[in-house]
Amino acid sequence: MQEILKTTLAPIIPDITEWPIYKLSADKEAFLSEIKELTILKIRSKIHTEKELNDMLGKVLYSERIRLTQKAWKADPSDEREFWATIKNELLNIEASELQGEITADSPNLKIVHQIIDRYLAEIVGNFKPGMYNFARKSINVLVSKILNAAPGNRFRFWKTQKTIGEKLIITGELEKIRRLGKEATIVLVPTHFSNLDSIIMGYIIDRIGLPAVTYGAGLNLFSIKLLSYFMSNLGAFKVDRRKKNSIYLELIKNYSTVSLQRGANGLFFPGGTRSRSGNLEKNLKLGLLGTTVEAQRNLIEHQVDGAYKKIYILPVVLNYHFVLEASGLIEDYLKSTGKDKYIRENDAYSTSYKIVKFITKFLFANSEMVISLGPLLDVIGNEVDDEGVSIDHLGRKVDLKEYFTLNGNFKTDIQRENEYTRMLERSIVEKYYTHNTLLSSDLIAYVGFVKMKNRFPHLDLYAFLRLPEEDTEIPYDAFEKAVDNVKEKFIELNKNGKILLSEEIKLPTKQLIEHGLANMGVYHHKSVLKISESGNVISEDKKLLFYYHNRADGYQLEKYV
């Protein structure tokens, strides 16, 4: 049952010093050495000889030198070059005779691996300080309230009265169950990703529903902003450097996640990787970090005590906004990469990426609501779980999670099997994104508006259509309203079958629904995404953005009802 959150809920574990993320931070030495051990173990399970290990180090060094010379950041520590120069010398000093045979305990190559891991770990590791957390929690509350409670601007006649935060940031989900199971289990939140605002909103939601803080990977580039860096590094965020793609680094990041999950710290990551460029719900997820949930769960089962083990639950979250401030830049990226030479880019000052600060200030004056739907809790295979947290398969049967990791009744570790399970989990999360997507008024009218305009030019491909002047794509209001009405009915039907969620306005009479949608959609873009012209027709001043917003309601096969 989707419940709607009315007020901020009390923390499920009142004492912050009891939170796993706090314990993790307090026990940092042991935590880090566990990650290190696991990483060395994995490297050695793949690489057996000194020669192979030496080759691997050569590749790591090479990619790091490329990073230092071609992608250096000001924020990089000043001794970076020095460190890698030392590594290079040590590698050169290894005698040919030391490259023979299997890896030994006093292997010179292994010693270098240790050095590199130590350096990386020191950079990656996050901290968690309760004082900082309480401060951040207060500031984020003020910030989000400001964002949502800003007095209605004069453009929006729709909102006459000030609404409460609960009315403007609507959180729905199986809240009671999540809170109850969350006391004993580890919860990994996997939200859709549309906007830079998502991280802030997620931080806010986690606090509001009373879950202990999460560990999450944040881009190292964000840490170059001093204030932000100070904040984040004391909130449990760990640093991820996207430039480092070498095998040791990638393995470390994954193991950082695995070990913190094993130690019970809740997690958060955006499995789509980056913000959705097209505005579509994510269909393909990044499997690397997702796979760490499967691995951690297997480890917990393997090392269970007295027949009981801690469970890891995946919580899909769908964030629905009436508008995404960076939409212009995102859809531009999308069209460029899919259209290649078919897509001709226009000069548009607004398509450059926005700075975070500018972004938030702009948003402060925005006046639209957000709907956040928490999907059902899933196990690491992608099964839903019942009220007691027992896995329930697609047939509605109780299944024993442990059995997925056994062969002929015996527990067995199998990485290839886990990769398959990660894919199953991916499919399940994506399915929940669609079933727990909340259709907003603006999504619906953008969908109908775009499909209707595009249908008039069946012979044009997307890129040629987008280039048409706006007067050529006008549609009469009556036909538009009729189509919205049709499609609305279909969405209501889908909703009854559990295929999508609907926001309250969808139930309004169609005329009002359209008004609501027009008033809310993409209000801060400098051109109207959809509006009624003076002659009473429906027009779009920016069809790229219309396409972007339309994509949100795409994927439900309703084109033929427009």
């Binding site: 295979i381 398969d393 697609h394 047939l395 049967r397 299944v399 024993d400 059995e403 997925y404 056994t406 062969l407 002929n408 009744g409 067995k412 199998d414 290839q416 099997r417 398959e420 399970y421 199953m424």
Partner: protein, 339 residues
């Protein structure tokens, strides 16, 4: 082992060389007769084979299960077996047909969303996730006689392939592995109707050249249908594709081949099916593939001609003549435009 048809029995005997096998047959009469005779149609039953009277026995006593029953009854059997299965089970099927959710006597179109492979049926109807399939040039009659053969075990899970290989491999039964289970299943299904066509051309005494022509173009047709359904070409070039095609298209002991052979002698389809005591999967496959090729607008002359011969009374000679004159310009074009 679920299914006591000739192929199921041949596999059961192979498995029994190294393992204890519990066998289930659909009808109690058949089971009793097997148990009493200790033989199936002149073939002795290995002493390591025991008989299960219910599907519950199978589910509760076996970790690894081989369902080998006709595709038309596969789903029903899975529904019945399902309550006794859990995620610890591993299933490897050897059924070469499609499951369809439309009435084959009365339907509008058939697309990918209407058909399921047997592994997809297992996934839908049970809690089992580790699923595999077995396909290749495996004529039951030859396996029975102890002649050498090979098979491919396909699964997304390496452990399923390894377990399957470990249990069934022997000096006269070689096993290959593949992770492309969908492709392997399709290859196994699609080759059946090519076998019917080849049986027909053989019966008409048109010679070896004509037969080779048909098999080669049949292969191309299989690849096109497979691609439309989302498979890649590789599986068709392996044991389950070309391998099985060569075996079934040259052997009168193949059921599908013999259907074609009898068509060439002027027998009607209805009489042929009535007199066969086991199902020739190719007959059903022809109806399904014809509809698929129309839906996806694929040029598939063999399936269309065979359909018209079997269901619309087109004289076989006329149909084959049409195929032999079918204009073509480029050889092995399917290798060039691999998508």
């Amino acid at each position: 082992m679920i299914g006591a048809g000739s192929f199921g029995m041949a596999i059961a005997n192979l498995l029994a060389e190294k393992n204890q096998v519990l066998l289930f047959a659909r009808t109690p009469e058949k089971l009793l007769k097997l148990e009493a005779d200790k033989a199936n149609k002149n073939q002795a039953i290995h002493e390591n084979i025991f008989f299960a009277s219910t599907l519950k026995d199978i589910g509760e006593n076996c970790d690894l299960i081989f369902p080998v029953v006709p595709s038309a009854r596969f789903r029903e059997m899975m529904v019945n077996l399902s309550p006794f299965l859990h995620p610890g089970h591993i299933l490897i099927h050897a059924t070469k047909g499609f499951d369809v959710d439309v009435d084959l006597e009365n339907f509008y179109t058939i697309s990918r969303s209407n058909i399921k492979t047997m592994s997809e049926v297992i996934r839908e109807e049970t809690s089992v996730v580790r699923i595999g399939c077995l396909a290749g040039p495996n004529l039951a009659s030859e396996i029975k006689e102890g002649k050498p053969a090979a098979t491919v075990i396909a699964s997304k899970f390496d452990e399923v392939i390894e377990l399957g290989q470990k249990t069934i491999r022997s000096v006269r039964f070689q096993t290959y592995g593949s992770n492309d289970i969908f492709g392997i299943e399709l290859a196994g299904v699609l080759k059946n109707y090519i076998a019917i066509a080849t049986g027909a051309i053989t019966g008409l005494n048109l010679g070896e050249n004509a037969r080779a022509l048909l098999i080669t173009r049949g292969m191309a047709e299989m690849i096109y249908i497979g691609r439309a359904l989302g498979a890649t070409s590789e599986a068709f070039l392996g044991m389950a594709g070309i391998g099985d095609l060569i075996a079934t298209c040259s052997s009168p002991s193949s059921r599908n081949f013999s259907v074609g052979l009898r068509l060439s002698k002027g027998e009607k389809l209805a009489d042929i099916t009535k007199s066969m005591n086991e199902v020739a999967e190719g007959i059903r496959t022809i109806q399904i593939v014809k509809a698929l090729s129309e839906y996806y607008q694929i040029t598939a002359p063999i399936v269309h001609v065979m359909y018209r011969v079997m269901y619309e009374n087109l004289p076989l000679e006329k149909g084959i003549k049409f195929l032999m004159r079918y204009p073509a310009y480029i050889d092995a074009e399917y290798m060039k435009n691999e998508s």
